[in-house]
């Protein structure tokens, strides 16, 4: 029982890399620097509510939400296909889906950059078959595309794991009671898979709303998403106070969304999702 010391390295790690930085963010977020040193001030937080920045935040939430919805629309059928009888004993399909995730996130996003370029592979192919080239690089569409591509597995996997565990006799029972395929889905399969859907939404929305790499590479522009804005404040502008305030602001929004979704997530048999 007295094995608590085993967790000591982890505790030290947590303190150094999580607790202290959080404390620093909190500290910088509510102070400003004057000639005499750090002084308490709500000015950095107030700045977050300026229209310019609210617009960036709004765009981040909107693009993340669109990506999440697209991931759900694409991901649910994929999860269903993966769990269907013809595929269930063939792990290779699941593997095919997971393998891209082993590759570096940056590399995958750079790949899209070359694919979407004016003279990139996609446009060359389009012109070869006589279609007009598309110019979506450095637009919202490209950012959404990047988000969907990168975060789709996070939607598929929790839904897959819930559907996989779904007792097939429940589906048979629904059919036995007169429900056709569509009715069975609406009345039994979908309601029972909600914990997975909620996990998936959380796991896609959160990285999507905070990303700065995808928007920087595929979106172009300066203050594109809130992630970029925060990055800029720390790395190029050097205003750690405003950067921290924005971080706090974003954390509060994420905490609220977790709070709302966690309400739906746990069922009677305990959490099914990945959180």
């Amino acid at each position: 029982m007295n094995k608590k010391w085993i967790s000591a390295p982890y505790l030290v790690w947590m303190v150094i890399f999580i607790v202290v930085p959080l404390f620093l963010v909190g500290f910088y977020g509510i102070t400003v620097r004057t000639d005499t040193g750090f002084v308490f001030s709500l000015e950095p937080l107030q700045r977050c509510f300026e229209p310019t920045y609210l617009k960036v935040l709004g765009r981040s939430v909107l693009l993340a939400a669109i990506s999440t919805v697209i991931c759900l629309i694409l991901g649910y059928p994929i999860a269903m296909i993966l769990t269907s009888k013809d595929f269930s004993d063939k792990n290779i399909y699941l593997m095919l889906f997971v393998i891209p995730m082993w590759m570096n996130f940056l590399l995958r996003t750079y790949a899209w950059l070359t694919l979407l370029e004016k003279n990139g592979l996609i446009n060359v192919l389009l012109q070869k078959i006589g279609l007009n080239p598309i110019h979506i690089l450095y637009t919202n569409q490209a950012v959404v595309l990047g988000m969907v591509y990168n975060f789709l597995p996070f939607m598929v996997l929790p839904i897959y794991s819930v559907l996989k565990k779904l007792d097939s006799s429940l589906i048979e029972a629904a059919q036995d009671l007169g429900a056709n395929g569509f009715q069975t889905f609406i009345k039994v399969i979908f309601p029972l898979s909600i914990p997975g859907v909620v996990s998936g939404i959380t796991m896609v929305f959160m990285p999507a709303v905070t990303t700065f790499v995808i928007s920087r590479l595929l979106g172009g522009g300066h203050y594109y998403l809130i992630g970029n804005l925060i990055e800029e404040q720390f790395l190029s502008v050097g205003n750690w106070h405003f950067g921290s305030a924005l971080s706090i602001f974003l954390m509060i929004i994420i905490l609220i969304s977790i709070f709302i979704t966690s309400h739906y997530e746990t069922d009677k048999e305990g959490s099914v999702g990945l959180w």
Binding site: L170, D176, L177, K187, L192
Partner: protein, 348 residues
């Protein structure tokens, strides 16, 4: 023809190259309580699933009221199923579970509520309407499953070992309740079990199956008293099966004695299997006995004692309410009516 609500004709079913049902032929009469009985893997559940529409036969036809329904999906069939593990919907309440089939049929709300209430009353679950499924005991869940199936007023109710998960006392109660319900509602029940006692208690007709082949179809009394082969004799109740020679009509030789019996038509000097139920073996004094033996072991079984009595070439299982001490020399008597003769099976 119309009396046969379901007919199975020359059904074959193969799973991964293993035959599960071999040329199965069976008809089910309207309003009967039919039990498919056999050890696990005998094909009884597969038969039920073919009738329910969850499996399609590889060969042969399924007829419902004379019409071929081989590929009709389950939701279009006039049968309902009580699943082995109940398969209740965990996200719905007791009442919502029962109302599921009625909602699909778009029944108006008032009639639906009435029906659900009546049905819950029938299965002794009045007042449980808004309870969640997970808060119910096994027996209560089982009743919900029955109510959910019966509320749709099916022509045929399929029950896949529905009592398997219940304890002995509850199982006995439910057996009687199910039988009563079946008689009251006049619905055809097709019941799957591996428990021979359950089958004998509830059924009008028992179908004994083994390795995908029907061994015998008959009333419980026929199946028990007149088993057609060794498998049925061994599976239904306990029995002594002895090699014998049918000397002539009404006379059989086994265990070194010529027994008068009531069977005929086997020809003269034919080797046969002789089945004698342990409760039909009477223990008497050695002088009175047709065969003499020694009591080897005695086990108390509640209502009776189970004794092993060894004679020259056979060990008899005897059930008796009177105990003989181990090592006692006893005689054995077997009456003509207690001897059942079966034709020898080729491979046995």
């Amino acid at each position: 023809m119309s009396k046969h609500i379901i007919e199975l004709k020359n059904i074959d079913k193969v799973y991964d190259g293993n035959p599960v049902l071999k040329n199965m032929n069976l008809y089910i009469r309207k309003n009967e309580f039919l039990t498919l009985l056999g050890p696990s893997g005998c094909g009884k559940t597969t038969t039920l699933r073919i009738i329910g529409g969850f499996e399609t036969p590889d060969k042969g036809d399924v007829l419902f009221e004379g019409k071929k329904i081989n590929t009709l999906p389950p939701y279009k069939r006039k049968v309902n199923t009580v699943f082995q593990k109940y398969a209740l919907f965990p996200h719905l309440t007791v009442a919502e579970n029962v109302a599921f089939g009625l909602k699909i049929k778009k029944m108006d709300k008032h009639t639906m509520e009435e029906k659900v209430k009546t049905m819950l009353h029938l299965v002794n679950l009045s007042g449980f309407e808004n309870r969640s499924i997970t808060s119910l005991s096994g027996g209560q869940q089982q009743r919900v499953a029955i109510a959910r199936a019966l509320v749709n007023e099916p022509e045929v109710l399929l029950l896949d070992e529905p009592l398997g998960a219940l304890d002995l006392k509850l199982r006995k109660e439910m057996q009687i309740e199910l039988k009563n319900m079946q008689q009251r509602l006049g619905i055809t029940f097709i019941f799957v079990t591996h428990d021979q006692e359950e089958a004998l208690t509830m059924s009008d007709t028992i179908v004994v199956m083994n390795e995908g082949v029907i061994q015998q179809v008959g009333s419980p009394i026929d199946i028990y008293n007149e088993p057609e082969n060794r498998f049925v004799a061994k599976f239904i109740g306990e029995s002594n099966i002895v090699d014998g020679i049918m000397l002539d009509d009404y006379l059989v030789d086994f265990a070194g004695y010529h027994f008068p019996c009531v069977d005929k038509g086997f020809g003269q000097n034919q080797p046969v299997d002789v089945v004698i139920r342990p409760e039909d073996v009477k223990i008497v004094t050695p002088a009175e006995g047709m065969i003499q033996g020694e009591v080897k072991s005695v086990i108390f079984k509640g209502v009776h004692y189970e004794m092993q009595v060894t004679s020259d070439d056979f060990t008899w299982m005897v059930h008796s309410t009177l105990m003989e001490a181990e090592g006692t020399q006893v005689g054995i008597q077997i009456g003509p009516n207690d001897i059942h003769i079966m034709k020898k099976e080729a491979e046995a």
